[in-house]
Symmetry: C2
Subunit: 223 residues, 2 copies
């Protein structure tokens, strides 16, 4: 199992090409009531674990919240934190401008209002072996991206979020998460519902510099 | 351009499936002398920029070091830092055990000894909009993973490394990188040389917990 995808299902279902997936995978925040099957969740997490990490220590851990007793309590706690987080953000209390009505605002409202019904919530943790650092994410967020891409391959969608941090202490108590593990991300997963628009990204020429900071590459055409 | 891959080359070259790529993409540290073409590098960086980031701020910046004047000087500086870093690590001076001879040790030796000849070195930076945090990597390392996966799709290989931090101050001066930008990663890119073994990873059952920390999921078979 360590070197093969579980159940050899990958050939059958993984029809999407790599570049197309990288180009089009976006945050999904509306889900149908369909579950994520055991086999698919195992596949998704197996592929997440193939990501690189510093010295190949693989310090990432995936704590899944589905339908268990703790999961229900944790989802309820998280749901309130997500609603508080979104209400603050929407109102602009994080030092940002308030959001105006938009499909994004509708999607966020639906996301936080229906948090408890999300089929799978995954707390992605990092077993620390040194002091906290802005660079430790190099050993956990590539695995998060692999997770979201693998979900896409199997017909699911998800979002990487940070509002679990508002209830971190309560989550640690409730789920027995040791102090040695950072709560690096909270990823939601389910079957996408409704239509989802295209990604909105800056032109590549605006995020690439060549040979020195601030110099646009001659080899990228202006947008 | 913002919503389409450059030059529409992706259909022609992106034949590898998503799940296969996630399962098998590994760090590549030996390269041929073949260059990375302008068009391919643009493709790779375009796909990197499709990654998610907090509030879709897209704070990632890619500073490419190829054959320019600054690039040559920076690669020389980095090469020495990488050699120092590897010598320390191999000797066990980071509080770890010394490495015994292995193909990994050979590969690392080759990597650092030939650093200056690596076709493309990319300093991945994060334009900070708040204080440094262990969680800021959520907005830059998914893009790094997209970058490495897109490189794979186009026949290249790379490695995400951290030994640039040993010469961070000199790099900032040399390349004009402002204090507001974190130097989050140093990624090497080139055409893979020689044979590369399979990924070595823990069984998925060892990195997944269900409903509480430490509880293995009933829905994953033991390795």
């Amino acid at each position: 199992m360590a070197d093969r995808a579980p159940a050899d299902r990958q050939k059958a279902v993984g029809e999407i090409g790599l570049l197309e997936a990288l180009a089009t995978t976006r945050a999904i925040r509306r889900y149908t009531n369909d579950p994520v099957s055991d086999a698919d969740l195992e596949q998704i997490l197996w592929h997440a674990g193939r990501a690189p990490s510093g010295s190949n220590r693989q310090p990432f851990r995936f704590l899944t919240l589905r339908n268990g007793q703790n999961a229900r309590a944790a989802k309820s706690l998280l749901g309130q934190s997500f609603r508080d987080g979104w209400n603050d953000k929407r109102a602009g209390t994080e030092g940002e401008r308030p959001y105006r009505p938009s499909s994004f605002v509708d999607s966020m409202r639906h996301f936080v209002d229906h948090f408890e019904a999300i089929p799978v919530v995954i707390l992605v943790c990092l077993e620390r072996y040194r002091d906290p650092s802005p660079f430790e994410g190099a050993s956990v967020y590539p695995a998060c991206q692999n997770l979201l891409l693998a979900a896409r391959a199997l017909g699911y969608g998800g979002a990487l979020t940070m509002w679990h941090l508002g209830v971190e202490d309560e989550l640690r108590l409730m789920l027995g998460i040791p102090d040695s593990a950072a709560l690096s991300a909270c990823i939601t997963l389910g079957v996408p519902a409704g239509r989802h628009g295209p990604l909105k990204r800056k032109p590549v020429g605006e995020i690439v510099f060549d040979d020195e900071w601030g110099t646009s590459p001659s080899w990228i055409a202006p947008a």
